[in-house]
Amino acid sequence: MRRRELHFDAVVIGAGTAGLVAGARLAQVGAKVCVVAKGIGSTHLAPATIDVLGYAPDRVTEPAAALERLIAERPDHPYALIGIDAVASSLEWLRQTVAAGPLPGYAYVGDLAANLLTPSAVGALRPSAMVPETMAAGDSGRLRRVCIVGTPALRDFHPQLCAANLQLAGIDARAVSLDLKLERADMNALGIARRFDDATWRAQFCAELSLALRAEEHVGLPAMLGIRDPHGVVTDLEQRLGRRVFEIPTLPPSVPGMRLYEILRAALRAAGGRLVLGAGVVSAAREGGRLTSVSAQAAGADAVYVAPWFVLAAGSYSSGAIELDSRWASHDRVLGLALRGLPGDGEPRFTRDYLAEQPLSRAGIAVDGEQRAEDVDNVLVAGAALPGAVPWREHSGEGIALASGFKAAAVVAHELSGSEVAA
């Protein structure tokens, strides 16, 4: 078979938040970079809030302080490798990247000083360091009276349950269900988001909704307020309804996640980086202690990506990049790197209690203090593949992805600056 050989300064494997951030950052410092991925990453599944540290294990109100404690207590945690400065820089970079991105006026708000507490679709209050501006008015610190609005056409959002739980949290909440008279019984959030991008449809929606609203109520809607121009949609809704309006993230597919993906992809492309999807890595070549190339699926023939530096950001067990087989052995299916944090032979991988920490949860690719894979010198690891965290319990996944992608790019850029590429 003919093999296409492609040469880059750095190849990033994985197109989730970590991979796209690493790719965009490397491209921005002038590296010739290519992001190859089997498919789109977890952005489309996640709420797109930047949860840096939500629980440790109690609810975190001041992430900067809590991060310092976490780093001191858990030197094996990804944040201990990344460092709090890189976390702060990455948040600032994201804020600028969103502002400069393809969605006009769209912005991220918040920082490490204090977590925002915004409602989940079931009415729990989720702690996030940064959220899309379209969610900001849901912050419980400012939320007094709210009307949670849903529609029967969206099975993925139930306003009554959300409002009832918010009431338990001390917020004056009630629910309204609006029949949007969509032509299909089933619409997902993306389908409805496209309607919201349409000004005429939006005007009708507001006319109907305003009849149901009471004085001084904020309005909470599922995260579906526009895919092309969410800032314009929310601004328009707020003007027409004369009150603050906010989005509440719900089940996948995630509209705000798709927006974040578009923003990061645009940043990568604008800086000259390449993105190749449908390119699952099928093999890797090593020479001595270095990775020399990876082969990825492509139409016709596999393509060989040759580079002096690689960033592995393909995810963990959830993406399938790390696999637990039926004989209870774990493998890195992408590059075959050594793992860390696995339960010992014969020890349980999981516990009976669903909400408890599972023994397998902190497993990941063995890395040194700079996110370098332990058994290959020129591979940096970013995102969920890093060991030591339980991101869905800590509410730290997006923060780790963003900051570790950012930090990996900085390490690679530094290495490259010693050679022909200038940082």
């Binding site: 729990a124 009832a164 949290a169 019984a185 089940l251 067990y317 039926s326």
Partner: protein
Amino acid sequence: VVALSTDVLVIGGGATGAGVAWDAALRGLDVVLVDRRDLAEGTSGRFHGLLHSGGRYAVKDPRAAEECIAENRILRRVAADCIEDTGGFFVTTPYDDPEYADRFARGCADTGVDCEEISAATALREEPRLHPGISRAFRVPDANIDVWKTVWALSHGAQQRGARILPYHEITAVHREGDEVTGARARDARTGEDIEISARVTVNAAGAWAGRVADLAGIEGVRVLPGRGIMIAMNHRLVNTVINRCQMPTDGDILVPIRTVSVIGTTDQHTEDPDDHTVDQHEVDQMLDDGEKLVPGFRSARALRVWTGVRPLFEDAKESDTETRDVTRAHALLDHQQRDGVRGFVTITGGKLTTFRLMAQETVDAVCRHLGDSRPCSTDSEPLPGSESGQSYHLGERLARKEAHLADEQVICECELVGRTTLQETITRTGSTNLDDIRRQLRLGMGPCQGGFCIYRATGILHELDGISAPDADASLLSFLQERWKGVWPVLYGDQLRQARLDDWIFQGVLDVEHLPK
């Protein structure tokens, strides 16, 4: 205290108890059925779904084989809607004693089990994933039976004829007046209220728990030895025909395609406590290895869920062998008037799902003897509600129904194609606030995502419709997640672990259910 009076009180809402209720109701008797939990939540709901042809017992237990084939033929008529006619194979794999096949064929001929030898090539053409090294193959009329559907049909049928079906009513006392059992007291587990039920005859159909009920009646020596077995549901129809290894019955030698999954079973461990649902890791490993012998590549297929069931094996006092497979699988009908001189009390235990109707018939015959009122049984000819057409279930049924309403009905559970209207009707009809009960009714949350997407939706709908409080709705959601996890984690690997992680992200990351306001 609520007081009820009836002809027949049935204790136990498994297939046997529901079968007794249906049989007795058909004979014109007034019936009250109680179960400490939901219907079919004990042994009945915890088996592999195999409607035996009798082939499995043809060599070892000819009488059981004869009963199975007779009942198999009857159930295909009267419970057609609950049965998918998959057919079955007995195959001699390279791991089996080749001598057994001839004994098997003779045994089938002797017991009347329809059995046709086919070439290994034919078997492999029909079931290409079977072990290519099979040397002989026999076709038998095995099938699968949906036990929940069966038990609902039995209980609905009985209700239509006036029976009162009371799930979540646990017996706290059995009343004796001298040498006569006159009824029982039950506690409503949901309200805590007691009800007094006076009955002319009380039937102890508590299966693996029958010894405890007999104790309450002051009857001695009814010992039921629970034999615990595990089953694993694989996320695909790895085969479309029931596959049995052609050997003396042992562990892990049956693979049953049912609904959208295939179930491998089973093991056999003696246990003291019928409520012990421990899954041993080595049993899981053994089952997966056994799967490889039937279908190479079994270990790389996706395992969905593991569960255990306890066989109610009635102990023969003369034997004390704890190797439970050797204790009789035959059912035991104890007429306590004959056995203990106690009138108004009958125990039915042991047996197997395939013969539940026969067990019910014999039980109600005994009930009629107690009543001194001989009435003929008609469960062998009267179809169950839903089975009147005689059309057996086929796999595409739900999809076909769904396709007819694609634009106008929401799908709440994509895996099992449960529509919003169906869910709402079920919540309203059952008045249940327990998502796990609804799961058993509708198979909600039983597919590959194990409730990842549908359970938030169902909780929202339950809350809107039932008017239950948010804390109750939240508790139902959390208990459903815990209940699902119980069967998931011991077989969590490969793609199912990916799925479980997505579910973790949805429930813990996106919804943050762990931190709901209290």
